[in-house]
Amino acid sequence: MARRAGPPDGGWGWMVVLSAFFQSALVFGVLRSFGVFFVEFVAAFEEPAARVSWIASIGIAVQQFGSPVGSALSTKFGPRPVVMSGGLLAALGMLLASFATSLTHLYLSIGLLSGSGWALTFTPTLACLSRYFSRRRSLATGLALTGVGLSSFAFAPLFQWLLSCYAWRGALLLVSALSLHLVVCGALLRPLSLAEDPAVGGPGAQLMSLLHEGPFLRYTVALTLINTGFFIPYVHLVAHLQDLGWDPLPAAFLLSVAAIADLVGRVASGWLGDAIPGPVTRLLMLWSALTGVSLALFPVAHTSTALVVLAVAYGFSSGALTPVAFSVLPELVGTARIYCGLGLVQMVESIGGLLGAPLSGYLRDMTGNYTASFVAAGAFLLAGSGVLLTLPHFFCFSAAASRPQAPGTEALETRVPPAKAEGPGED
């Protein structure tokens, strides 16, 4: 047979964590630090900043809407070839961008090509990670996602230095070479076949079965609501602080404090998610509710101390909810369907992400300050947490203290680590 009964929870899994760490750094770190290039593009192509910022918007949109494609391909071929091709595409996009002579070229090369490359890397890698871990899943995910935060710190100065040494064409060439390391990350994703894999069939069948599953759909709705409120502060916090009379330097410092809290939150929550018995859904609800509350309190805080405390609370809880959000999914759909499940979730929740920032901006224009936006963001997060209450096993406080098992995995053998019960009724 030679199929694993359950995830290995270690061993090569830690290399997958490493791969996911670098990979989330290379995808989201690059996206977040691209702002330094925009100044150069505005000068080089003589286009207004609004048109230049479409490059990032197209890239993010392609990455998110393309996630199901990445997932479906990974189910069929395994994550390794898919992520490696994704890395090649992303690097190719940057390479072609260095030869661009107009803004349209950049839309196509960075936005479309690199965006497709990123779509083929992020979701399959995280799903693969979920398959390698069960007992330490949240911790592994949390550690991997710290790549995003750390790279945002590192890449912005790095890109600035590249631009000063080589001007933007040369700098893009080197960012392309940097993105090529995604191929290395893909090579690390050693295929793993688990016992329940044959039971769920190919990508088409998996997608259909997912769409009929109530808990999965409710989870997707919850995440979409959470996503809508999630990104608002990133976009509007600095502006809100300036409205309150803060100078740019202390405002930026406050953002850094929130970012550090975010980083700590990711790892702490990852560890906590594994240490505490019972469904991880409860933790997700806790963290999203906390994020929602801290957001809604922002308009009420006026003193510096209150704002710093709220920023730390927001940073910590929003960082804390990310690894847990990814850990809930395997519990709902099982590790066999994780690729397709994650792809679908990413695609749907991206709608929330796309709507969140413009909605907040619209509220700001209507009311004149950010109070309404922050309260709306908090409301979305609380609504999402509310939907999470409806997920199965949420209120199950039985002595079994077991991780709930998805229907597709009932055929599991008993050859599992005795430390954490895996199946229903096993204690």
């Binding site: 030679a2 080089a44 064409r169 080197l174 090529l180 090579a187 690390l188 295929p191």
Partner: protein, 269 residues
């Protein structure tokens, strides 16, 4: 009222010693004190409470405070004094004074060191916020054999765009052989002229190519290492194929065996 600025100008033609003017309800005075110039504004009425003061030069805010005095002062370096200043008593409706301090122009480069890519366009810019304003700009390139003047349309690549406080030299297609070097922008007003130097460096298209190639090589090496490492462990798996997995002969453990087997099974090649 129109006579007041003329009086200021007349006295400013010689070194300004103590001209003063009255504009609305704010009286202003300009005084030279050693190597500095002292600008003073005094509010003539106090029916509204003053909450602060703001000093500006053109559009730039120089200083802002929250003092409630009816008088406010600002000190400028004599060398950098020329320009149009204004003092505002806050809130803004209380009173405003405008002071025009004349002097020879001061020209500043927006970026003293500019880098561009071969074949791409680049813009060099200079500005001056002096008073009286700069009326003519001249650009030239410094060379050992003497300065080379640049006018709008030279070589069909150089284009000069002038406005009262700003001049831009735009080079359309950078040439790596001829264009690098020092460029000078010279601004002249009725009271003199000043210049600024901008150094232009041109990057070759291929400058980043070698590091790029190096990194690509490194990526290929890493991928090769990862695959070879995996393939090297497979001969061990072939030996253990018949092992039922209950008594693993190696200390690396049960897990490792299973992983290798699954790799062998799922390997698409």
């Amino acid at each position: 009222m129109a006579a007041a600025p003329l009086v200021v100008l007349g006295l400013a033609l010689l070194l300004v010693e103590g001209a003063s003017a009255e504009v609305g309800s704010v009286s202003t005075s300009i005084e030279e004190v050693g190597s500095k110039v002292l600008l003073t504004c005094a509010l003539n009425h106090n029916d509204t409470q003053v909450t602060g003061h703001r000093w500006m030069k053109g559009d730039k805010v120089l200083k802002e405070d929250a003092l409630t005095d009816l008088k406010t002062e600002y000190e400028v370096d004599a060398a950098d004094r020329a320009g149009k200043y204004s003092c505002l008593f806050l809130p803004e409706t209380v009173g405003r004074g405008d002071l025009a301090v004349s002097g020879p122009p001061k020209v500043k480069a927006l970026k003293r060191s500019v880098k561009g890519d071969e074949g791409d366009p680049v813009t060099l810019a200079c500005k001056s916020d002096s008073f009286p304003p700069v009326t003519s700009w001249a650009w030239y390139k410094m060379a050992d054999s003497g300065h080379q003047e640049i006018v709008n349309g030279s070589q069909n690549r150089f284009f000069v765009n002038n406005s009262e406080a700003r001049s831009e030299l735009r080079i359309k297609k950078l040439n790596i052989k001829f264009d690098p070097g020092k460029y000078v922008c010279n601004g002249t007003s009725s009271l003199g002229s000043d210049k600024a130097v901008i150094t232009l460096r041109v990057h070759s298209r291929l400058a980043a190519f070698w590091p790029f190639l190096g990194i690509v090589m490194e990526v290929l090496v890493l991928v090769a290492i990862i695959f070879f490492y995996e393939k090297c462990r497979q001969p061990e798996v072939v030996v253990d194929d018949d092992d039922t997995g209950t008594e693993p002969p190696k200390s690396s453990g049960h897990q490792l065996n299973n992983e290798d087997k699954s790799v062998r099974q799922r390997n698409p090649t």
